[in-house]
Every structure is written in structure tokens, then in C-alpha cells.
């Protein structure tokens, strides 16, 4: 028996890219959510244990404290990001490697780290217990960064009446960095679909 299927059409390839965008947006958000959850746990624990207070009393500059934390967390985040992109390239995820997409994905990863680590530090003031902070922050990042972009994407492509709603929601929700990142990855995967509809 010989299996010799016809090559995939342009439209089928674009649908493949969009589905890859769905997966990539969700999986990248899920993977990186662990990193940010570990950051918030450490910050809240340091405050709850009074070790931050002890350092301040000992004469530590508060700007130096946050800057050092940011640099350390960002370097660790960059290691994870580079690995994630290299693995995606190695597995030949086409929507990431085509044209300007790779440059756009790199920029998303670079600025997502800076933005969301700072946001995480601000969010750490809300929590008192580090266990609660870690668990709830993970789920918040996962849902708002992984699932909400898919919902907005569906609103944009479902029909002419829902398209402006999706676009309008996206402008507001992008203030939350995890959403901006997830939406960016998903949009890059669906770039041709947006172009042809």
C-alpha cells in the first residue's frame, strides 16, 4: 500500500499556524507562570519573616534592594526564555521562525520579563502569606495570560459584530502584562488569518 497524500493547501497551513499559536500562547504562559509564582513567594516570605525589615534596619537602600531583586530574577527568567525559544526553533514551530516573527517573539519575551517581574513586586504587597501568594498568583497568571487572549482572539475572528468588541477589550486588557504577552504570541501565530479575513 502506498500513501501519497496531496500537499497541504495554503489555507490548511495557516490554520495549522493559528492552532500552534493557541498552543504556544497557552503553554508559554503556563510555563512562565511558575517562574513568576516563585518570585512572589520569595518576596512575600522575606517580608513576612521580617528579613526585609532587618535589612532595612541594617542600613540597606530600598532602591538597591528592588534593583538587585529585579536583576537577579530577570537573569534567571532570561535563561528560561532563551531555552523556550531555542526549543521552539528546534521543534520547527513554523509561525515563530517565519519572517519577522522571530524578532517579534524575542521582543515579547524580553519586555515581558521586565514588565511582569516589576508587576509581581507591586502585586506582592497584596499578600500576607507566601503559600497563598504562590498558588493564587500562578492561577491568576495562567487564566489571565493563557485563556483570556484566546477569548479575545475568538471575539476578533468570529464575526464583524464581535470584532470591535475584541479589539476594544484588547486595548484595555494589555495593561496586564501577562495578557499582552499571551495576546502577542497568539496574534503572531494568526498573522495570516487576520490578513485574509
Amino acid at each position: 500500500m502506498v500513501n501519497d497524500p496531496l500537499p497541504r493547501t495554503f489555507q490548511q497551513l495557516q490554520i495549522n499556524n493559528t492552532i500552534s499559536g493557541f498552543y504556544a500562547s497557552f503553554i508559554f504562559s503556563m510555563a512562565l507562570a511558575f517562574k513568576f509564582a516563585s518570585i512572589i513567594a520569595f518576596i512575600v516570605k522575606e517580608r513576612a519573616d521580617r528579613s526585609k525589615h532587618q535589612q532595612i534596619v541594617s542600613g540597606m537602600n530600598i532602591r538597591a534592594y528592588w534593583t538587585a531583586n529585579l536583576v537577579y530574577d530577570y537573569v534567571l527568567y532570561l535563561v528560561i526564555s532563551v531555552l523556550a525559544i531555542v526549543i521552539a526553533i528546534g521543534l520547527d514551530v513554523q509561525f515563530i521562525t517565519e519572517g519577522n516573527a522571530l524578532a517579534a517573539i524575542w521582543m515579547l519575551f524580553i519586555f515581558y520579563g521586565l514588565s511582569y517581574i516589576s508587576f509581581t513586586y507591586v502585586a506582592s504587597f497584596i499578600f500576607k502569606d507566601y503559600g497563598t501568594a504562590q498558588a493564587s498568583y500562578y492561577f491568576i497568571t495562567l487564566i489571565l495570560g493563557g485563556l483570556l487572549p484566546i477569548l479575545v482572539f475568538l471575539l476578533r475572528v468570529l464575526g464583524d459584530s464581535t470584532n470591535p468588541v475584541g479589539k476594544g477589550l484588547a486595548w484595555g486588557l494589555r495593561l496586564y502584562p501577562a495578557f499582552a504577552f499571551g495576546e502577542g504570541v497568539l496574534n503572531i501565530g494568526s498573522v495570516t488569518l487576520y490578513g485574509i479575513r
Partner: protein, 55 residues
């Protein structure tokens, strides 16, 4: 009409939001910290009187 990943409606808008957000949230963090270290502000925030009660 073909679109580019770096078009405003595709990847550029999220990138700009993230780039501006990184500076904005770090500044916000430093402002919150300085407010927390300001005794005057914290007394107002927690609704305390300026005078310490004598026991």
C-alpha cells in the same frame, strides 16, 4: 491584505505596552515603598491620630 508580525494590530502594540509597563510598574513599586516608609502618610492611611495617647 497581508500583515506583518510587527504590525500595530499584531505584535507591536503588546510589545509597546510591555516596554512602557516595565518602567511604569518599577516606578510604581518605588513610589509605594517610599509611601510605606513615610510615617505621615501611613498614619493618614491607617486613620491614626498624630498625637500619641498617653497611657
Amino acid at each position: 491584505m497581508p500583515m506583518d508580525p510587527l504590525d500595530l494590530e499584531i505584535g507591536l502594540a503588546p510589545i509597546i505596552y510591555l516596554a512602557v509597563g516595565s518602567a511604569f510598574f518599577f516606578l510604581l513599586l518605588l513610589i509605594i515603598e517610599s509611601l510605606q516608609n513615610s510615617e505621615k502618610f501611613m498614619r493618614k492611611w491607617q486613620g491614626e491620630e498624630n498625637n500619641v495617647e498617653e497611657t
